[in-house]
């Protein structure tokens, strides 16, 4: 038996157009070991994950190096040989379970496919095995679960079913490609626990790909940091977290470590209320999305709205800006009640509340120059033109830390962080009192996100802006928000000074939220799971 399940040497992957995607990466995974691959988007981590199965996506080519799986070199093995190993020796768990299941077949058929197709088991054996797997992964009604079609079960169940599908062929190594990225923190913790259980129970090795260092620290034995297709640093989990060698790694570790607040209450003018939302209810058709939501924001203050997907936090923003009408309740801005429809609001009201969106790629018109994009609000509201307008554009660019010559460029030539700066400049151009930030950093890489947050804090200090900051990231909240509102299924669970909201006594949901945020330490997950089990045991002594 080979000591290493997977051994990659000097791997080089290029796009068909000739750009280098992965450049000279070496890695090994020992039997039963978990190697975490971490990096920003474009670091090449998913490409490496697929290459470890001898697979390259359309438009990519493996051009150099060796990939040894169980001592067999995949590149020289030929297509048929690679196929024999896929599913049986190495299996893949994708980010999106719903996209990875074929909608035309039952779950059972797809879970049995690997063992039956590769001749490991008869159909009956594979079925019995699958039912066992469903049971051990905690799926409801394991005997009947497999008869369902993918669209008939919940997302969380499908995620489990995908794990079952991957281990059905009893592989030696699993490739996890961002399995928790699309999930809420409270769901993420369950999936992480599941992955740990699989690795531990079945003794498989794993390649765990993610952009979140804290997540990978919970499951990995060793971590490899990637950037731009090259290895930055490799080490044990403890070493990377406690004694990173490279600057880049140090920044990554530090980013999540910042828990001190970047803002102070001194600049908040508590007497002056900018926005007041009073018992707002809203619905889509017959489905209620907001129930009796009330909040206030003072001048110079940041109110964070926290919640998971579906909690109604974005709907709240849409009600405030007038894109969605509330069924009852009122929104008052600078003491005036706003019309529920943004189109019926006065120019000054439209001007006073600006929105910064989540996705920098689609928040700027790709056919307009940056100058036109940020100049338009100044022209539209302020009536600026000619030299004055040009001056204003320069001033705005400077304010958000972009060079003057960006005015003539188009969004396509900018990076994500630069685009988000332009979005902020466009909001500032209207001279607003309140900016609603709808997850402005969630689409950015961590280090870039950090810079944007710092920019927002600086602008608040300089201009006395108020922010309504929508996010699912509690780390951001603790750094940025004076006050916090926790939203659960459209209802306000808790609202108050950030420090108080997150200190005991907490609402149980807030506690669950805060517990679910991975900490930058290796045994965090085990601790949380133990604490949870403990709590359950105490709450239900008879059932235990």
């Amino acid at each position: 038996m080979n000591e290493h399940v997977l051994k990659i040497r000097n791997l080089r992957i290029e796009s068909v157009a000739g750009t280098t995607l992965v450049d000279g990466v070496d890695l090994t995974v020992a039997r039963g070991e978990v190697l975490g691959l971490i990096g920003e988007s474009g670091a090449g981590k998913s490409t490496i994950g697929l290459a470890s199965m001898g697979y390259a996506r359309a438009g990519c080519r493996i051009v150099g190096g060796t990939i040894e799986l169980e001592g067999k070199e995949l590149r020289s093995l030929g297509a048929e040989g690679r196929r024999d190993l896929r599913g049986t020796r190495i299996a893949y768990v994708a980010q999106s379970a719903s996209a990875s299941f074929n909608p035309a077949h039952t779950i059972m058929r797809q879970v049995c496919e690997i063992p039956v197709y590769h001749g490991l088991m008869t159909r009956a054996q594979a079925k019995a095995h699958a039912i066992e797997l469903f049971r051990s992964l905690g799926l409801p009604e394991p005997e009947k679960f497999g008869e369902k079609y993918p669209h008939e079960v919940s997302g969380g169940q499908l995620q489990r079913a995908m794990a079952a599908m991957a281990i059905a062929g009893k592989p030696d190594i699993l490739v996890f490609d961002e399995p928790t990225t699309a999930l809420d923190v409270t769901t993420q913790i369950e999936v992480l626990a599941l992955i740990k259980k699989i690795i531990w129970e079945f003794g498989t090795a794993a390649l765990y790909i993610t952009h979140d260092l804290a997540v990978v620290a919970q499951v990995a034995d060793r971590i490899m940091v990637l950037r731009g297709g090259r290895t930055v640093e490799m080490g044990t989990c403890e070493q990377i977290l406690s004694a990173p060698v490279e600057d880049y790694t140090r920044l990554l570790v530090a980013e999540r470590d910042v828990h001190h607040s970047l803002v102070s209450d001194a600049l908040v003018d508590a007497e002056k209320t900018v926005l007041e939302v009073d018992r707002v209810n809203a619905a889509y058709g017959s489905i209620s999305i907001l129930q009796d939501v009330s909040l206030t924001i003072a001048k110079g203050e940041t109110l964070a709205v926290v919640g998971e997907s579906g909690s109604g936090k974005s709907s709240l923003a849409r009600v405030i800006v007038g894109l969605h009408s509330a069924t009852s309740g009122s929104v008052r801005f600078e003491k005036k009640t706003l019309d529920p429809n943004c189109r019926n609001r006065s120019r000054t009201d439209q001007q006073g509340i600006q929105l910064v969106h989540q996705h920098p790629d689609v928040s700027l018109n790709p056919r307009q120059t940056i100058g036109n994009i940020i100049g338009r609000p100044a022209r539209f509201y302020g009536g600026l033109s000619g030299r004055a307008l040009k001056q204003k554009i320069t001033e705005l660019l400077k304010m958000v830390g972009l060079p003057e010559n960006f005015a003539v460029r188009k969004p396509g030539t900018l990076s994500g962080g630069q685009k988000q700066r332009v979005s902020i400049a466009r909001a500032l151009a209207a001279n607003p009192a309140l900016i609603i930030c709808d997850e402005p950093t969630s689409a950015l890489d961590p280090l870039v996100a950090q810079e944007i947050l710092e920019l927002l804090v600086r602008l608040q200090r300089e201009l006395g802006l108020s922010y309504l900051f929508i996010t699912h990231d509690l780390g951001i909240v603790q750094r940025l928000a004076h006050r916090t509102l926790v939203l659960l299924k459209g209802e306000v669970v808790s609202i108050g000074a950030t420090r108080e909201v997150f200190s005991p006594p907490m609402h149980p949901y807030t506690q669950k939220l805060i517990e679910s945020v991975p900490a930058m330490k290796t045994n965090w997950l085990d601790g949380v799971l133990a604490a949870r089990a403990d709590r359950t045991a105490r709450e239900e002594p008879t059932a235990a």
């Binding site: 697929l50 199965m53 697979y55 996506r57 196929r83 024999d84 190993l85 896929r86 599913g87 049986t88 299996a91 893949y92 994708a94 999106s96 996209a99 990875s100 299941f101 074929n102 909608p103 035309a104 077949h105 496919e113 690997i114 197709y117 590769h118 079609y149 669209h151 008939e152 599908m165």
Partner: protein
């Protein structure tokens, strides 16, 4: 099982209702276009030189002096009972001459579709799974050529080579009621080939892109990563999901068959509905035009409704919906 039947039945009923509704709207449109607008049937037939008196008398004879809505009601009532009215030029009931011609057209189009549909689907799938390879490139260029040239170009080339130069087939597709089945096949072979070429090309291209869009789904990648062979991935994972889009492609492309059939019938002087309609248009025999148009549109709507129903029936998502 009961649930499955209910959902399917409901959706099929919905499609049928939608088809009937569309057909009703289409009938209004056809009637409006030919009856309410200026230049009515009387002036069309009698010509510009007719005296106002004759026009008036003729209009009364045709019932054109009554309000349009009443005339539409009468027309529709007739159509529902299978009576398409009276031809202005022959003064014969339209239904009597339309029905045998419609059968002829169905024979021609059906014959062509029978060969073209499986051919196009097969070639489209082959092109898609060989994207970028020689087979695909050849299929692309040839089908591009075939959709670019007019129907009559294909028809005349076929006549020139197979009928005139080689003398294998007749230049005209003359059929008569007493003709035997195989004689019919023989004389219609050239028009059928022309139709097949045109329809196959359109259908092939759209089938190809429908299959390609399925092949770019993540579950196809997953199937490869499970170690399945290319053949299994295509047969078990791609095609079951491509079936529904392919069915709608086929239905959509029968529109080209209808357009093609009109031109091809004229080229080969084939006694079908298309030729009859073109004849009526040049004589401005409006009731005949209305009747033919309605038949063509009804066929097209029916085929599309049928395709919709088929895609519902084969969709596993709908077969067992939670609702």
């Amino acid at each position: 099982m009961r649930l499955f039947k209910n959902v399917i039945t409901r959706m099929i009923l919905e499609r049928v209702m939608l088809g009937i509704l569309t057909l009703f709207a289409v009938s209004v449109l056809i009637f409006a276009a030919t009856s309410i607008l200026p230049g009515d049937a009387a002036t069309a037939v009698l010509g510009q030189g007719a005296t106002p008196e004759t026009v008036k008398a003729y209009r009364e004879e045709l019932g054109l002096d009554r309000p349009a809505i009443v005339r539409y009601g009468d027309w529709l009532a007739g159509v529902v009972q299978g009576d398409l009215g009276t031809s202005l030029t022959t003064r014969q009931p339209i239904s009597d001459s339309v029905i045998p011609r419609f059968e002829n057209t169905l024979f021609l189009a059906g014959f062509a579709a029978l060969i073209a549909v499986p051919l196009a689907i097969g070639l489209g799938i082959i092109a898609a799974i060989n994207e970028g390879r020689l087979v695909d490139r050849v299929a692309n260029i040839v089908s591009l050529g075939a959709i670019s040239v007019p129907e009559f170009f294909v028809a005349y080339l076929l006549i020139l080579f197979f009928a005139v130069k080689l003398g294998l087939f007749p230049t005209l597709a003359t059929v008569f009621p007493e003709m035997g089945f195989f004689d019919r096949l023989y004389v219609t072979i050239l028009p059928v080939i022309a139709l097949i070429m045109i329809v196959t090309a359109h259908m092939l291209r759209m089938t190809r892109s429908a299959v390609l869009s399925v092949l770019s789904q993540p579950y196809i990648e997953m199937a490869f990563l499970k170690g399945l062979r290319r053949r299994s991935v295509i047969m078990q994972h791609a095609l079951p999901n491509a079936a529904a889009p392919i069915i709608s492609v086929v239905a959509l492309n029968l529109a080209y068959l209808i357009v093609g059939v009109v031109v091809i019938e004229v080229v080969f002087v084939y006694p079908g509905l298309g030729q009859y309609m073109v004849d009526a248009v040049s004589k401005r025999d409006l009731p005949v035009v209305q009747g033919c148009a309605l038949l063509f549109a009804a066929t097209f709507v029916a085929v599309n409704a049928l395709a919709d129903i088929l895609s519902v029936a084969i969709n596993p998502r709908l077969r067992r919906s939670r609702h």
